[in-house]
Symmetry: C3
Subunit: 475 residues, 3 copies
C-alpha cells in the first residue's frame, strides 16, 4: 500500500533540484558573507590576554563566556530538541518535524548572525561584525521565531518553502527587533514580543495565505499515536525545564539573570496546574488531553518573556502563569476550531495558543510592570540598570517606558501579520514542491521511509497468514 | 475493544470535579501565600548592586547564581525528564508516568518553597522568606522525595491522590529535613537520608496501606514493551548522568562541589558493572534484564548522597557503588517478590531497591565516613568546613557527628513509615477516583487516548483482510 | 516464533559465566588500583582552603570546576545519551545499543582515569594520580574512542567482546595520546586525531578481522523502523548540540573555550545544509535519507576537533563544515558499499564516514591552520598561549608545529589500524559468546525481551482472528 501511495505522490513534490540548489547556494553565500563581515569579538580572540591586561580584568572567569554558556546550551537544546520533538506528535511526521526543524534552524542561525550583526553590532570603523557567546544566543533566539512559525504550517509545506520562510523570517525579525529594542528602547530579554508574538503571527499569516480548503483529505494522518505523543513530551519537557535559561540568557549579569530564572521557574509551575484543570474540565469524564499538556503548560514561559527580568515578584509570576494556563488551554478548545472554520487559518500545532496569545499577554504584562516600577522597589541604581536608563534614555520615566513597551508589542504584531502575508504569497507560487492535500502530514513525501510500518508490526506468523488470506482471496 | 473497555471504567474514576477544583484552589492558595511570604533574596534583587558595593564584591560572577545554576538545571532535568521517563516503562502508562510526574512536581516545588522557607529561612524580622537559586534546588530536591513515592504506586492511583500525597509528602519532608539538618546538624547534601530513605519508605508505606489483593486482574498491563523500555532508558540515563550534579548542587563552593561530583561519577560507574553482573547471573542463559539496567545502575548515586562531599576517597566511592549494584539488583530478584507476597507491599517501580535500601546504605556510609574523619586527612579548616563545625556545633567531634548522622537516618525512616501509613489511610477514602483493579496501569482511565494502538499498527491491507475474515466468520 | 528463535540461538551466546566474571574481576581490579593510585587533586580536596590562601586565590569561583563543569556535563550527555541513542536506529537492537554503550563507557572511564593518569599526571614524588574535573572530561573523551569503534561492530559482538575491546582500546588510546600530545606536542583539544581518527580506524580494523561472509543471514534485522529512527535522532541531536562543549571542554580558559565553541557551532550548522543537499541529490525524487541526517550532520564537529581552538575564523569553520557534510554523505552512498564489498569491512554505523574520514580531515585542517598561524593574527602572547610554545617547545615555529600536527595524525591512524587488527584477532577466539550470523542485530540474544513485539501490536480482535485462521489451516 505504501508503495502504491508513493507512486501517487504528484511530481511537484520532487525537490531533487530545488532543495540541493537552495542549500548549496545559500550556504556558499553564508561563507562569503561571513568571510567579509564576521570576526571573533575581543573575548573570543587570542588577543583576550591583552584585553584583560588593558581592562584590568584579573581572571579569565570574567569572560562573558562563563556568564552565558550554560544558558546558551540550554537554549540550544530548546531550539533543536525542544521545538523539534514537540512537533513529532503527528503519527507519521516525526522525521519532518525533527529533521526540517534541524535544517532550517541550522540555516537560520547563520543568517541571523549576519542580519542581527548588521543591525545591532556592525562596527562603523572596521565594517565588521564581532561575535561572541551572546551573538550565538541571539541567533538561536531569532531562529526560534521561525520555528514557531513552522508550527503553524507543519506537514503542509516543503523543506524548500521552510527555508524561504526562514530566510524572510530572520530578515523581518532582525528589523522588528532593531525597532523594538534599539529605537523604542523596549526591554524584551525573553522575547515575549520580539520572538513569540512576531513568530506566532508570522506563522499564522502564512498559514492563512496558504489555506487548504481540502485538507480533510489527509485527515487520516492528522492525529497522534501513543508513541508519537510520548516523543512529543520530550520536546515539551526540555522546553519547559530550560525556559528559565531562555528568559535569563541575555539579561544583566548577576541579579538580572538570577531573577529572570526565579520568575520563569515559578510562572511555568503555576501554568501546569491550571492547564491540567482546564483540560480535565473540557472532557465529560475529566480525562486529560495530551495536546494541552504538551503545549499549554509552556504558555507561562512565553508570557514572562518580557517581565521575567523585572521585579514582578514571585507571586506576580505565579499569577501570570495561572492565567496563561487557562487562556492557552481554552485556546485549544475554543479558539483553534474558530480560527480554522471562520478565519480559515489552519494552525497545525496551535501556535496561536502557545505563542501568539501568550506573547501578547507577555507584552502587556511587561508594559504594565514597567510602568508600575518604582525607585522604592528597584532602588535608584537598580531602576537604571534594569531598564537601561542610560545615554539617550537617561531621562525616560517608567511610565514612558511602559508606553514604549506597548508600542513594541504593536510593532511585533504588525511585522508578523504583514510580513507573514507577503511571505505567504511568495510561498503560494507553484514552484516549491509542496505536498498535495491528500499527502499532507506524511513523511513519505520527503523522506525515504525504508520499511513501511506494517513490516515492523506484523509478526512472522501473521505474514504467513497474510499469504494464506491472499490465497483465499485468489480462490 | 478499547472503546468497550472505556465504557467498563467505573464512574468513580471521573475526576472532572475533583481534579480541577484541587488544582485551582491549591494554585490560588499558593499565589496568596507567595504574596504574603516569598520575596527575592539579595542576590536576585535589583538591590544587588548595593549589596555588592556593601560587601566589597568586585564581580557579578560571585553571585551564587553562577556557582549553582548549571547544577540546578541538571537537577531540574532529573526531576522532570529523569523521574518522568524512568516511569514510562509500562506498556500503556507513559502518559500517566510523564504527565502526572509533571503535574505533581509543578505543584510540589511551589509548596516546597513555602514549607522549606518557613522551617529554614523565615526571616524573623520581616516575616518573609527570601528565595534564590539554592531555594529552587532545595524545592526540586523536596519534590524528588514525592516522585520517589509515586514510583511505588505508579498506575494504581488517581492524579488527585497523587496531589494529596505530594501535599503531605512535602510537608513531612520539610519537617524531617529540619530535624535532620538543623536540629541534629547531620550533613546530607545529596539526600541519601532526607530524600531517598524518606521518599522510599513514604511510598512503600502508602502502597502497603493501599494494598490491592486483586491487582492480578490488570496483569495484562503490567509488563513493558520494546519501545516503552527504550523510553525508560532516557529517564535512566539522564538520572545517571546528572546525579553528580544532584549530589553536588548544594555542597560547599569550590572543593565541596568538585569532590562531590568526582565521588558520584565514580560510584555510579562502579554500580553499572555489578548490576550487569548480577543481572546476567540471574538468568540461566546469562541474558540481561532491562528492569535491572534501568534501575539498579542508579543505586550508587543514591548511596553516595550523604558521603559524596566527604573525603571518602575515589576508591571508597567505587566500593560503595560496587555493593549497591549487587544489593539493588538482588533486591529486584529476591526482595520485591517477597515484599509483595509476604508483606503485601506492591511496589510498581521497585523503589525499595532503588531508593529505600540504597538510601539506608548511604546513611550508614555517611555516618561511618563522618565518624572516621580526621584532621590529618581533612586539614583543620577542611574538617570545620566540611562538617560545618561552627556556631553551636563548634565543639562537636567527628565521632559525635557520626552518631548524629545515624540518628538522622532513623528519623528519615520513621517519618517515611509513619507518615506514609497515615497518608495512605487518607488516600484509602473512596472519594479520590482511583482506578478499579482491572483498570490499573492503563492510560485510558485518565487520558484521552485518541487512537487505539491497533489503528497504529494495522496496515491498510490487513484491515482489508480483517474484513475478509469477518466475512468468513459471518459465513 | 520468537520463542522458537530463542531456542535456535547457539549455546555459545551463553554469557552467564563470562560476563559476570569479567565485570566482577575487572571492577575489583579497578577498586584496588584506585586505592593504590588515585587521589583528589588540590582543587577537589578539603585542603583547597589552604591552597587558595597559599596561591592568593580570592574566590572559590577560580576553582577549575567552574570553568569546566558545564562542558563536562554536556560531554557526559554525549557519551551516554548521544552515542547510546544514535545507535538505536536498528529495529531490534535498541537495548544493545543503549545498554552495552552504558556498560562499556562505565568500565572504560575508570580504566581511562588510570591509564591517562599513569601517562599524563603520575606525580613522581608520591606515585599518585591526582584527579579533578579535567581528568573526568579526559576519561569521557577516551571512552568516546571506544564507543566510536563499537559503532563498526554494533550488533555483531557480545558484551564480553565489547569489554575486551574497551580494555585494549583505552590502553592504546592512552599511549597514542601520550605520543601525540606530549611527545609530538601536537594540539588536539577536541580529538580529531586522538579520538575520532584513532577510534574510527580501531573499529574498522576490528570489523575487518571479524568479517562475517554470511551476515546477509540476518538481513531481516538490519534495517530501521520508524520509531527506532526517531529514537536515533535523540542521539544525533544531543551530539550535535553539545559538540561545541566537546571541542571546548579542555581548551584554554577564557578566549580558548569561547572561540572553540563559536567555531564548532558554525561548522556544524554548515554541515547540516550540505548533508541535506547531497542526501536529496542521491535519490531520484529528492527524498532525504535518515541515515545521512543522523550521521553526516555531525561530521563538521569531528573535523573541527583540532582546529576549533585556533583562529580558523568563522568563515573558515563554515568551509570545513561545508565540505565535511558533502564528503561524509557521499561516504554513506559510495564508500560504505565499497568497503563492505571490496575491502570486506562491515561497518554497521558507518563510522568510516562519520569519524575516520572527518577525523583525518580534521587532522589535516589542524596542521594547515597551525602552519599558517601568524603573530599578526594571534598576537605574540596569543600565539604562545594557543600552541603552548613554552618550556621545551618555546622555540618551535608554527611551520614545525604544522609538521608535528601532521605526524600526530599518522600516529593515530597507525595505532588505530595496527591496534585494531591485533585486538580483532583476540576477539576472533571462539570463547567470547558472539552471536551466529543469523542472530546478529537481535536483542533477543543478550536481553530478556519479555514480550515479543507482536503481542504489542496485535489488537485483541486480530489475535482472535488468528485463532480463526489457524482453524482454517487445520481444516
Amino acid at each position: 500500500m505504501h508503495g502504491t501511495l508513493c507512486c501517487l505522490v504528484p511530481d511537484n513534490t520532487n525537490i531533487r533540484l530545488t532543495l540541493p540548489v537552495v542549500c548549496f547556494v545559500w550556504q556558499i553565500a553564508m561563507i562569503i558573507l561571513f568571510g567579509v563581515f564576521i570576526r571573533y569579538d575581543e573575548e573570543s580572540n587570542t588577543h583576550w590576554v591583552e584585553t584583560k591586561a588593558h581592562n584590568n580584568i584579573t581572571s579569565d572567569i570574567e569572560n562573558d563566556f562563563y556568564f552565558r554558556y550554560p544558558s546558551f546550551q540550554d537554549v540550544h537544546v530548546m531550539i533543536f530538541v525542544g521545538f523539534g520533538f514537540l512537533m513529532t506528535f503527528l503519527k507519521r511526521y516525526s522525521f519532518g518535524a525533527v529533521g526540517f526543524n534541524f535544517l532550517i534552524a541550522s540555516f537560520g542561525l547563520q543568517w541571523a548572525l549576519l542580519m542581527q550583526g548588521w543591525f545591532h553590532s556592525l562596527d562603523p570603523q572596521t565594517g565588521k561584525i564581532f561575535i561572541g557567546i551572546e551573538s550565538l544566543i541571539n541567533a538561536d533566539f531569532c531562529v526560534a521565531g521561525c520555528l514557531i512559525a513552522y508550527g503553524a504550517v507543519l506537514g503542509k509545506v516543503s523543506p524548500v518553502q521552510l527555508l524561504v520562510m526562514t530566510l524572510f523570517g530572520v530578515t523581518l525579525f532582525a528589523v522588528e527587533e532593531y525597532i523594538i529594542l534599539n529605537l523604542l528602547h523596549a526591554r524584551d530579554a525573553g522575547g515575549s514580543m520580539v520572538i513569540h508574538t512576531f513568530g506566532g503571527y508570522y506563522g499564522l499569516a502564512i498559514s492563512w495565505v496558504l489555506y487548504r480548503p481540502n485538507l480533510h483529505q489527509s485527515k487520516r494522518m492528522q492525529g497522534s499515536v501513543y508513541h508519537s505523543d510520548t516523543f512529543a513530551m520530550i520536546g515539551t519537557l526540555f522546553l519547559w525545564m530550560f525556559w528559565p535559561s531562555f528568559n535569563s540568557a541575555i539579561t544583566d549579569h548577576g541579579d538580572g539573570q538570577h531573577r529572570a530564572v526565579i520568575n520563569t521557574y515559578l510562572g511555568l509551575a503555576s501554568t501546569v496546574l491550571t492547564t491540567v484543570a482546564i483540560s480535565s474540565l473540557s472532557q465529560k469524564t475529566g480525562k486529560l488531553d495530551m495536546v494541552h499538556i504538551q503545549n499549554s503548560t509552556l504558555a507561562g514561559g512565553v508570557a514572562l518573556g518580557t517581565a521575567a527580568e523585572f521585579m514582578i515578584s514571585p507571586y506576580g509570576a505565579l499569577i501570570v502563569g495561572f492565567f496563561c494556563g487557562i487562556i492557552s488551554t481554552m485556546g485549544y478548545i475554543f479558539i483553534s476550531p474558530f480560527l480554522e472554520k471562520t478565519l480559515k487559518i489552519q494552525d497545525t500545532c496551535g501556535i496561536h495558543n502557545l505563542h501568539a496569545m501568550p506573547g501578547v499577554i507577555g507584552g502587556i504584562v511587561g508594559a504594565i510592570t514597567a510602568a508600575a516600577a518604582s525607585e522604592s522597589v528597584y532602588g535608584k541604581q537598580g531602576l537604571i540598570n534594569t531598564f537601561d536608563f542610560t545615554g539617550d534614555f537617561k531621562d525616560r520615566t517608567v511610565l514612558t517606558q511602559g508606553g514604549y513597551q506597548a508600542a513594541g508589542m504593536c510593532v511585533s504584531i504588525v511585522f508578523g501579520v504583514v510580513g507573514g502575508a507577503i511571505v505567504g504569497s511568495i510561498l503560494k507560487l507553484p514552484i516549491w514542491g509542496d505536498p498535495a492535500d491528500e499527502n499532507c502530514f506524511d513523511d513519505e513525501v520527503y523522506w525515504e521511509v525504508r520499511e513501511p510500518e506494517h513490516q515492523e508490526s506484523i509478526p512472522p506468523i501473521l505474514e504467513y497468514n497474510n499469504h494464506m488470506i491472499h490465497k483465499h482471496q485468489d480462490l
